[in-house]
């Protein structure tokens, strides 16, 4: 369902970014980059008190004409950004949540791999497959 999925590290550099229409990839990169500001805004808006109980799912970050951008931030400040095509009707919030959950689970699996150094780009095939499965649903 997603058109573009990105995993951003704590320092705001991408660990993994992949989009479906291989053309116009740059546009998605830019979108994800700008969405980071919105993520920070949302986090700061929550206030310090909520940091402990912060909901990981941030919800719709911002919609544009063609697509919507959803955000999710883990407790270790790793952000998942998902760009979804607006024409994709009836993508319920729950489904987005479940997709983020899957992403998070796969990300934890990648982290469990001792050969993965945190901060490296993610090259895991299993992770790729999972992301593909989420993205291929569209086309």
């Amino acid at each position: 369902m997603a058109v573009c999925i990105a995993v951003i590290a704590k320092e705001n550099y991408p660990l993994y970014i992949r989009s479906i229409p291989t053309e116009n990839e740059l546009k998605f990169h830019y979108t994800v980059h700008t969405s980071l500001d919105v993520v920070d805004e949302k986090i700061s808006a929550m206030g310090k008190a909520l940091v402990d109980q912060r909901e990981l799912y941030l919800g719709l970050l911002y919609p544009t004409e063609d697509y919507k951008v959803y955000g999710y931030m883990t407790n270790s400040k790793v952000k998942f950004v998902m760009v979804v095509d607006s024409s994709n009707t009836a993508l319920r919030d729950n489904e987005i949540r479940s997709m983020f959950r899957k992403l998070h689970n796969s990300y934890t699996d990648v982290m469990c791999n001792p050969f993965y150094n945190p901060g490296d780009c993610i090259h895991s095939r299993a992770f790729d497959n999972m992301v593909t499965s989420m993205m291929m649903q569209v086309c």
């Binding site: 909901e55 990981l56 799912y57 999710y72 729950n94 949540r97 479940s98 983020f100 959950r101 998070h104 689970n105 934890t108 699996d109 469990c112 791999n113 001792p114 050969f115 993965y116 090259h123 895991s124 095939r125 299993a126 497959n129």
Partner: protein, 795 residues
């Protein structure tokens, strides 16, 4: 026999070989056993071997005498160097390399050959050759190339310890390199040891004795030839995947043929190596080797290797990190960052494969899958423990059920609270943490239900959790006919996961109470109930979770069924408890208040729930905490139903319409006798107060109906709903202990009846509303008329 001139080295070598083969101590060697092995190890085609044997005269004599043996060995050397086998060649060929035998021989042999290698150093012609057992010897060769003395000793050590060189650093590569050496001999290539393997050997030679020590015992224990033959077979079966079905033995033969024929290149060796019958099957020797390696890192075979240690270990194999990372992903089955023995073996195997040129699979091959026994064991243990944990609370319920309902109610709120916790968890999070917590909680809960548990994430967590809770509770019920039912739900789960989950919940619950066979066979019923349940998704978990009430019994069956119930209850005390538990649930919404399970009963919800309940299966019953007075209830219900029916018939058609509902309500009323207070059924206490006998309650609803229709209308409807529930409950009671067929029919019948009742009641409702409207209109018109007349009167 022609005269045979052997060089000194040859002589010594042959002598050793002969003594090796001469197991019996006689000076003759039968052409079986070790000799054959030896010749096979020479990697010569069988015809050549036969020829050799013939030439040396063994066939004539029937055995190998010393001279024949020597001749044979010399001929082997001749053949290996590619020269035609001629008797004349025995003496004419000079500077013939020592015959090479692939399978490694005794350690003693190796040591001897080590000595030979030193001699070989001296003679240029033997420089590359080096003593036979390529596997081990080659190690030596490598060492020779570097530092003869030191490495020889180290390799000696290694050889004596493990035929596979340098297990320490990169165990997988040792077979690999070993194979290379095999290749070389067949090619008669003197340079063999030094060329490709050279760099490999370097790291190997650094291998520490410590590691080899661990690998030793097993290695020495194994008969090297078979082992190496296996390895050889790998080498020979190129990754053309034709090998899959091949047996090691057959592979060996092919090996010998192929080894002779194929050219020797490092790439080839790499490609050819590491083929397994099933490319991913681990042979026993390999497995043993892996186990030993595992022991070096983690002495406890049931323990884990932490990720960091495994990382270090596998990094030594010199594979790129990316590939190692992929191997880890494949082999760490449970994704816990640590390797069990099985996982470790799988990872090791994959590394070996990769080193030998095999591409890594995308998915873990089946033969490498860690045996789920371990997981099952731990899971079972965990399940048992968690089951115990779970059963502790539901177990509290059953025992307390019979003694007193209030205690049940107490447990029920507990369970409900936990369900609320479940709810909050699910609602709170898109966080995987909570999700995983759920999974971990859910999965081990019950080994049986674990299979059945639909673990997929659901949209309506509350429902699910409630059901899961139910599942656990029911699964932990002492009566565990859950298994038969549990088997069936998976089939149904194919339909709709949500519905299946509910179905499962319902089924498992039902299992505890009835010969649940009927349930799986009634998917549509369940489906309908599920849909009904789903309709309540917005409502409290209680209403969602409670399985559909048991089907209402046929009026004809009621009496007999109650008797059966009594009988069955006495017969199966365990089930009785369950059954007792089962029944009340059908009525959950209603009676709760008196029990203190008030929160569970919501009036508005009741209306809905009752409809659902009336059509739900007995599975809902277990949730009902009010199980007391069951036997009384049954007896009463039976009689009550009968009487109810009679009474009902005497009433208006409205009542007739509600007949089944009445019977149900009467049953329910009887059931709630002990409970008494029902906020919804105000009439119930009235009836209860009126008569202590079970007969009293039945008339009550009817009487109520006799009251003002308006008054009764909503209540009637509720009543009917409740009665429906109760009827269902009652029906379930008798039906539960019944046979499968009867259950089925009873359930189907009750569901049908309930549906009919529902529709009838709905129609009734609308009709009554219409009547009300009409009446009101009439009243208005009358008033108007009165008004009109009044002025006249006044006038």
């Amino acid at each position: 026999m022609e005269g045979l001139t052997l060089s000194e080295a040859e002589q010594r070598y042959y002598c050793d070989l002969f003594s090796y083969c001469d197991t019996e101590g006689t000076k003759k060697v039968a052409p079986n056993g070790r000799v054959l092995e030896l010749f096979r190890a020479a990697q010569l085609p069988s015809e050549v071997v036969m020829q050799i044997m013939e030439l040396c005269g063994a066939t004539r004599l029937g055995y190998f005498g010393r001279s024949q043996f020597y001749i044979a060995l010399k001929l082997v050397a001749v053949a290996q160097s590619g020269l035609p086998l001629r008797v004349e060649s025995l003496n004419t060929v000079k500077d013939l390399p020592l015959p090479r035998f692939v399978p490694s021989k005794n350690e003693q042999e190796l040591r001897h050959t080590a000595l030979y290698s030193s001699d070989a150093d001296n003679s240029a012609s033997y420089s590359g050759v080096i003593p036979p057992p390529p596997g081990r010897v080659q190690v030596k060769k490598g060492s020779v190339s570097h530092d003869p003395v030191q490495q020889r000793t180290s390799t000696d050590q290694q050889e004596s310890t493990s035929p596979v060189v340098s297990p320490q650093q990169s165990p997988p590569t040792s077979p690999h390199t070993w194979r290379k050496h095999n290749r070389h001999p067949s090619g008669g290539n003197n340079e063999r040891p030094l060329a490709g393997p050279g760099p490999f050997w370097a790291p190997f030679s650094e291998a520490q004795p410590g590691s080899s020590a661990t690998g030793d015992p097993t290695w020495s224990g194994h008969s090297p030839p078979p082992h190496q033959e296996n390895w050889v077979s790998f080498a020979d079966t190129p990754p053309t995947s034709t090998l899959l079905a091949m047996h090691p033995a057959s592979v060996q033969d092919q090996t010998t043929v192929r080894t002779v024929a194929s050219a020797t290149t490092a790439n080839e060796i790499r490609r050819q190596s590491s083929s397994y019958d099933d490319p991913w099957k681990i042979t026993d020797e390999q497995r043993q080797y892996y186990v030993n390696q595992f022991k070096t890192i983690q002495p406890d075979l049931n323990g884990f290797i932490p990720g960091s240690a495994a990382k270090e270990f596998f990094t030594k194999s010199k594979l790129p990190i990316l590939e190692l990372s992929h191997i880890w992903e494949l082999s760490d089955f449970d994704k816990d960052g640590a390797l069990t023995l099985d996982e470790f073996c799988a990872a090791f195997h994959l590394v070996v494969a990769r080193k030998n040129g095999y591409d890594l699979p995308e998915k873990l091959p089946e033969s490498l899958m860690p045996k789920l026994i371990d997981l099952e064991d731990t899971a079972e243990v965990g399940d048992q423990s968690s089951e115990v944990g779970y059963s502790s609370s539901p177990a509290e319920a059953p025992p307390s059920k019979s003694p007193s309902m209030p205690s049940l109610n107490q447990t029920w709120p507990e369970l409900n609270q936990s369900s609320e916790q479940w709810e909050t968890f699910s609602e709170r999070s898109s966080s995987s943490q909570t999700l995983t917590q759920f999974d971990s909680n859910i999965a081990p809960a019950d080994p049986d239900t674990a299979i059945v548990h639909p673990v997929p994430i659901r949209m309506t967590p509350s429902k699910i959790h409630m059901q899961e809770m139910e599942l656990k509770r029911t699964g932990s019920d002492p009566a565990n006919p859950t298994s038969p039912l549990l088997v069936k739900p998976p089939d149904l789960s194919e339909e709709n996961k949500i519905s299946s989950s509910k179905f499962v919940a319902g089924n498992t619950v039902a299992d505890g109470y009835s010969s649940s066979d009927s349930y799986p066979s009634d998917p549509e019923q369940i489906g309908s109930t599920v849909t009904r349940q789903r309709s309540h998704s917005g409502t409290s978990p209680d209403n969602i979770a409670p399985p559909p009430p048991p089907p209402r019994p046929h009026p004809s069956h009621s009496r007999s069924s109650s008797l059966d119930m009594n009988r069955s209850f006495t017969v199966t005390p365990g089930q009785q408890q369950a059954g007792v538990v089962a029944y009340p649930p059908a009525v959950p919404p209603r009676p709760q208040p008196s029990q203190g399970a008030g929160p569970h009963v919501h009036r508005p919800v009741d209306a809905e729930g009752l409809i659902a309940h009336s059509s739900t299966s007995p599975q809902q019953i277990p949730e009902q905490p009010n199980f007391a007075d069951f036997s009384q209830f049954e007896a009463f219900a039976a009689s009550a139903v009968n009487e109810e029916e009679d009474e009902i018939e005497t009433h208006s058609e409205v009542l007739q319409v509600e007949k089944p509902a009445d019977s149900a309500s009467s049953l329910r009323v009887a059931k709630t006798d002990g409970r008494v207070e029902e906020k919804a059924a105000a009439s119930v206490p009235v009836n209860a107060g009126k008569s202590t006998t079970p007969l009293a309650p039945p008339p009550k609803p009817i009487r109520r109906r006799l009251k003002s229709e308006d008054e009764l209308r909503p209540e009637v409807e509720e009543h009917t709903q409740k009665t429906g529930v109760i009827a269902a409950v009652l029906a379930s009671q008798p039906s539960i202990p019944r046979s499968v067929g009867k259950d089925k029919k009873a359930i189907q019948a009750s569901i049908r009846r309930n549906k009919e009742t529902n529709t009838v009641l709905a129609r009734l409702n609308s009709e009554l509303q219409q009547q009300l409207k009409d009446v009101l209109e009439e009243r208005i018109s009358l008033e108007v008329q009165l008004e009109q007349l009044r002025p006249f009167s006044h006038l």
